[in-house]
């Protein structure tokens, strides 16, 4: 048997794409300090579908902001795709958000004056993708979420479920390292909720890393792994059996 040139362990099991190491966040307002994250450790590997679950005030929004590079830690380390995010400046952070993270917000956050495809192409605009290719990729992303026939519709002409699917297409279009969804079903009725969640299932089956933040158990249970957060700490981290 010939010795392989590389360590097979490394090739088969690369490090986690998302890694929080002793991550702490303290908000200071005047003389009052509030410790929103009390030194948590979390590792998420490529292809995982993780729900971060907790009541409001548990610190899950803080985790979302940290993971999305929208906020910085006051202590500890956040490594995204092997890079220590804490060392990046504002322009590099913008580039990380652009390349590695696809956001899905509770309130959709679509630009109402732009048609669906123009909304979807936005990350590519900031990613310096040429115009013709942007339109092609935006159309493909919209087709993937089942809105191939609504390219030119403005958000106001679509239902809430459809708008959220446009937002998912926007999160997909840049082929990010992870899709980060913050209460994506919070503004949706049960039919649209099911709709969007099945979309996440499909995307995960295609190998996408998804981090979903929610306070609803039924939503969390669609994920393969549930991380329970309470009072700024992880209280349980389990593989979802259901």
């Amino acid at each position: 048997m010939v010795e392989p040139l590389t360590n097979p362990l490394e090739a088969d099991a690369p490090g986690p794409v998302i890694e929080l190491i002793d991550a702490g966040k303290t908000y200071t307002s005047g003389t009052i300090e509030f410790e929103a994250l009390k030194g948590i450790n979390l590792a998420i590997h490529e292809g995982e579908y993780v729900a971060i679950m907790g009541p409001s005030g548990s610190g899950k929004s803080t985790i979302m902001n940290i993971l999305g590079c929208l906020d910085t830690l006051t202590r500890g380390q956040y490594r995204l795709g092997g890079t220590d995010v804490e060392e990046l400046d504002e322009i590099e952070l913008a580039s990380v958000r652009n390349q590695q993270i696809g956001f899905v917000f509770q309130g959709f956050n679509l630009l109402s004056s732009l048609p669906a495809w123009r909304n979807v192409e936005l990350p590519l605009v900031y990613g310096h993708v040429p115009r013709e290719e942007r339109k092609k990729r935006a159309s493909r992303a919209l087709e993937r979420v089942g809105l191939g026939d609504r390219l030119d519709n403005k958000p106001g002409e679509m239902s809430g479920g459809q708008q959220q699917r446009v937002a998912v297409a926007r999160a997909l279009v840049g082929e990010p390292t992870m899709i980060l969804a913050d209460e994506p079903t919070g503004n949706l009725d049960s039919v649209s909720t099911r709709d969007v969640l099945s979309l996440f299932d499909e995307l995960n089956n295609l190998g996408r890393t998804i981090v979903l933040i929610t306070h609803e158990l039924e939503v969390a249970q669609r994920a393969r792994r549930i991380v329970w957060v309470k009072d700024g700490a992880i209280v349980r981290d389990e593989v979802n059996a259901a």
């Binding site: 902001n65 999305g68 929208l70 906020d71 504002e90 322009i91 913008a94 580039s95 958000r97 652009n98 390349q99 956001f103 917000f105 956050n109 630009l111 004056s113 732009l114 936005l122 990350p123 605009v125 900031y126 990613g127 310096h128 926007r170 840049g174």
Partner: protein, 410 residues
């Protein structure tokens, strides 16, 4: 993000708030149009005045009684006696003492009532010599100027300005008609060709009589020999300053004055008049342009105001764009371009309206407006600069927004 992308985004922001953008543009537009018009009006008036002064005649020196020196200010003649008389004018005609002066036209002017048939008309009656037409560069439309023989005989003859003839007779075909001035009947021998008006008087509303006739029949008394102005014509352009020296020396000598500072007369040249008038109008233009510039400043503040509104109502959009990967410079550029679009549109529209007004207004207000391409180009540049300068603060504010706060804003 390319410049083209930034521009497209900014344009759609301007376009989607059409009314608001139009009102902001209006502020800049008014400022730019005002600047173009005031500068144009100033330049136009300057040219008008220069042209009027040139129309007095060429190579002209104007001798007026009284002195105005920089140290003593204006000084009138001594007592009631006139400081310039027909004797001075006669002395200046000497080819020996004043070889560089080719023509001398003294003028004594009085405002008198003229009567023809039943019509009365008050005008400026000027007593002068036969040299007047050549020195003042006037021609006759009808008849002829009075002759030296008529002047020597103090004949009761008059040459009327075209307007005066019209007012008195309703026609210019009046040679041979009679006009009564101060109870004396004058015969009209000629009518002057139209010359327009200069800064102080209507050149077409005049009555010209021989100086001797004016002195004996119209003025009388001690003032009869006094002249209000002596027009001197230098033989050529190059002899103008020599003519000036000769006139100055001659008059000082005649008046027994030793120092130029004490002179009781003033000699000015056309050039001096032009530059004085030009300086006055330049000051006026600068003042008015300053006022117009203020309205431009107000327009700029309008741009800033609307940009701040634009930033604050799009805080969420800014947050989203940042979350999707827009670096601060892209956000700043987007808002700067938006401000520049407002400034540029205002500048171009203002220039168009200013130029159109400059072309149409002279017909209404009767004074010319000169549109200088430099002023137009410059004001469009200034408009863009105003947009950008007043856009910097709002744009920087947008660029500095933390994405997380921006996203949370409602």
């Amino acid at each position: 993000m390319t410049w083209m992308e930034s521009f497209r985004t900014s344009w759609s922001a301007v376009y989607s708030h059409a009314l608001r953008s139009m009102l902001t543009i209006l502020g800049i537009l008014i400022g730019i149009a005002a600047v173009i018009l005031t500068v144009g009006l100033g330049l136009g008036t300057q040219l008008d005045v220069s042209a009027q002064i040139s129309s007095l005649g060429s190579n002209l020196l104007i001798v007026a009684p009284g002195s105005s020196t920089s140290t003593t200010g204006a000084r009138g003649g001594f007592g009631t006696s006139a400081t310039l008389t027909i004797k001075d004018a006669e002395a200046l005609t000497s080819t020996v003492n004043a070889p560089d002066i080719s023509g001398v036209a003294p003028e004594s002017t009085t405002s008198l009532s003229l009567t023809a048939n039943d019509t009365n008309w008050t005008t400026t009656v000027t007593g002068t010599t036969t040299a007047w037409t050549s020195v003042r560069q006037r021609t006759l439309a009808r008849g002829a100027f009075f002759t030296q023989a008529q002047a020597d005989a103090s004949a009761a003859v008059v040459v009327l300005g075209s307007e005066t003839a019209n007012e008195l007779f309703g026609t210019q075909n009046v040679v041979g008609q009679s006009v009564v001035i101060s109870d004396k009947t004058f015969q009209v021998v000629g009518v002057l060709a139209t010359a327009g008006s200069d800064s102080s008087s209507n050149l077409d509303d005049v009555a010209i009589v021989p100086f001797s006739t004016a002195a004996t029949d119209l003025v009388g008394g001690t003032a009869s020999n006094a002249v209000s102005t002596i027009y001197l014509q230098a033989a050529s352009d190059t002899q103008l300053s020599a003519a000036y020296q000769e006139a100055d020396a001659l008059l000082l000598n005649l008046h027994s004055i030793s120092s130029t500072d004490d002179a009781d007369f003033t000699i000015s040249s056309q050039d001096a008049l032009v530059s004085t008038a030009t300086a006055v109008y330049q000051t006026l233009t600068i003042l008015l342009t300053g006022v117009a510039g203020l309205s431009l400043l107000v327009g700029g503040i309008g741009v800033m105001n609307i940009m701040l509104v634009s930033v604050s109502e799009r805080t969420r959009e800014i947050g989203l764009r940042k979350a999707l990967g827009a670096p601060p410079w892209a956000i700043r550029r987007q808002f700067l371009i938006e401000a520049a679009i407002l400034g540029l549109s205002g500048g171009i529209l203002g220039a168009v309206i200013g130029v159109v007004a400059a072309l149409t207004l002279p017909a209404v207000i009767g004074s010319s407006i000169v549109v200088s391409p430099l002023a137009v180009g410059l004001s469009i540049g200034v408009a863009i600069a105003i947009g950008i300068v007043f856009g910097v603060y709002p744009a920087t504010r947008a660029a500095k927004l933390a994405p997380i706060d921006a996203l949370r804003s409602e």
